[in-house]
């Protein structure tokens, strides 16, 4: 697993997502190595099974964008080849075409996904519940959003339907984006520890690419389920 720029992007407990992925592998006896990738570090995305990209403050985000721009083609290729990616908040926006600021300036993104973001005046903040389909089953996922950007999808599937909260832009009722094995979302919270179905989905996808054919062994998720149910009860 590659965790991009953890020393830079430390907002919103991002490392919780990394912990959840790694722990849930280890609890099943699956070896996992978390590599923390810093600015300028030489890496090949071909070596990664799962890549996590979080969000940061404006300044940090600019540093991250600059560094990733130099790796754009490599990342695009990896995504086309099915690299499993989770991108949240700023990481999500960055994968798109551009971010338009309030005064109309367009900051180019990596252009890997067909989406764009424009700044809104009011920040969209609060608890969110999203219904999404994973492996043909419908699941409810909860998290917390805090973003000024409004993201609009082009020829892309959203991650799910907003049941409570604002989602991508507060207008079209969708949240996040999906392309190949790339999953984007505005939900932090963090997302993976309590939404175990998502976490396990990433593990399963990553293993599948490695030629693994077995089903994932189920774990006791009673704490996680209770945390999700409590929030669903509150906001739905």
């Amino acid at each position: 697993m590659f965790h991009l720029y953890p020393d830079l992007l430390n907002l919103y407990g991002d490392r919780g997502n990394v912990m959840a992925f790694a722990r849930r592998c280890r609890w099943r006896g699956i070896d996992v190595e978390v590599r923390q990738i810093s600015l300028g570090e030489k890496v090949s995305f071909k070596e990664a099974d799962f890549l996590f990209l979080g969000g940061g403050s404006d300044r940090e985000q600019n540093l991250m964008a600059g560094d990733l721009a130099a790796r754009k083609e490599q990342l695009r290729e990896a995504v086309e080849e099915g690299l499993v990616v989770l991108a949240i908040c700023g990481g999500y926006q960055l994968l798109g075409k551009y971010y338009r600021t309030l005064d109309g300036k367009e900051i180019p993104g990596l252009g890997i996904l067909d989406l764009y973001t424009r700044a809104g005046r009011e920040r969209l903040i609060g608890n969110v519940a999203v219904e999404m389909e994973i492996n043909g089953m419908t699941h409810r996922v909860v998290g917390f959003e805090n973003h000024a950007g409004r993201t609009f999808l082009g020829d892309l599937k959203p991650l799910g339907k907003v049941l409570a909260g604002r989602g991508n832009n507060g207008e079209d009722g969708f949240e996040g984006a999906r392309y190949n094995n790339v999953f984007c979302s505005y939900l932090h919270g963090p997302l993976l520890p309590k939404n175990t179905v998502l976490a396990d989905n990433f593990i399963a996808l990553a293993l599948k690419r490695r030629g693994w054919r077995e089903e994932l062994r189920p774990l006791d998720d009673s704490f996680e389920k209770a945390a999700v149910d409590t929030m669903l009860k509150r906001i739905l």
Binding site: D7, L8, N10, L11, Y12, G13, D14, R15, G16, M19, A20, R23, S57, D58, R59, R123, I125, G126, N127, F144, N146, H188, G189, P190, P193, K194, D220, F223, E224, A226, A227, T230
Partner: protein, 477 residues
Amino acid sequence: MIVRFILALWAARLAMFVARVTGRGKGSSLPGKIALKIYPRILKQLGRQIKKGIIVVTGTNGKTTTNNMIAGIVGDNKGSGVIINREGANLITGVTAAFIRAAGPFGGLHADYACLEVDEASFPGVVREITPDIVVVTNFFRDQLDRYGELDKTIALVKDALKKLDSVRLVLNADDPLVAQLGRVTGKPSVFFGLARHPGVSGTGSAAREAKFCPFCGAELAYSYYQYSQLGNYKCPGCEFARPQTDVEGVDPGVDGMLVSCRVRFRQGNMYPLQIPVTGLYNLYNGLAACSVGLLLDIDMDGIRSSLAGYLPATGRMEKFLYRGKPVLLNLVKNPTGFNEGLSTLLSVPAERVNVLIAINDNDADGRDISWLWDVDFEVLSGAGEKFGTFVCSGRRAWEMAVRLKYAGVREETVTVLEDFDQAVRTALEGTGDMSYFLATYTALWPVERILSGYAQRERTLPESVPSISGSVKSVR
């Protein structure tokens, strides 16, 4: 004008009276709100009457403790009246209420000093109305992001407000680069306090570290050691920014049970022993900040030392209770750094086994976003398995807390989730430990404290809230 002023004063007083009689709206911002609505200049009018000095404490953690320590030092050594705002009432409404409470029926004030803790985001608004002579900045950490936006913006707000103050003197934490930079960017005369290197410092920073880059040139700061979080000895490789030379430095710090100590060196000169009945190294920073203010006010070191030696923690700042002869500690947590401080105290308490209660709410005052729990290093608990009898998780986000402990490597069998505070407190107290340690977020603290004081006896009592005139700060000791 004078009519409105008096009207505002009386309306606010009435609201305070109603709150007291009905027992509701305790700690509410309503009286201050009413007063400011009726007469927006009321705070300016009242603040002008302070005769000798206004001291404002801002920053993320340690405001209440530092401000209470300062008020104690000033009250003990300068005698006549000190106005202080009630703990946590640190928005402009709370500051206004403190002045109103101390004012006479026609708005007259007879106080030489005001010691005010002011929320970082409210700081610009408050200092537009009252002109502080000394501003203390404790530290900057990430706190309740969903309310304030990002830390950079908060610091910029404080910075700009400081620049506009004319004859202010600053008391700054030298070990926190985010705070220390304020000396240079504002150009105001500054006194720096900090802790010297000691055997407990660490070579690596924690995950919750905020400042990584030089505020002046953007290069990554190089640290020779860390005290905790981003506090330590730093130097910019790209420009001349570095930890400033300290005026007040704590040497050989020690944490011994419920007492912290060090020797204080003032301006590279004499050393004075200092002891404060509080826990955790971070409280030593608060003590050093208070020392610095005392020295700026020309109070002699002996007077400062004896005030600090008699310091009583306020509600939820490591308050101590006794339950059937076993100690219970209650501590407020509100951000990753404060929580990490709490956990390191928890690991060092002199007990074989500890019952732990963690109460997490997500109301506005707690921060609605609880993702910060994932920036707290709960992993330190997994290594100390035998030390903990039980972990009781409570509050609106009790399950979330249980999930966090699980992923930190705490065994699930030791975790009990009881959202109801009363059940949670009772279960924790009845655990197998020989002491209990309670951690609670802001809005969980009050119910937990109330329930706890029903079962256990408070070891030493400070009145429910800090008195507004500190002639009495002394007399309650």
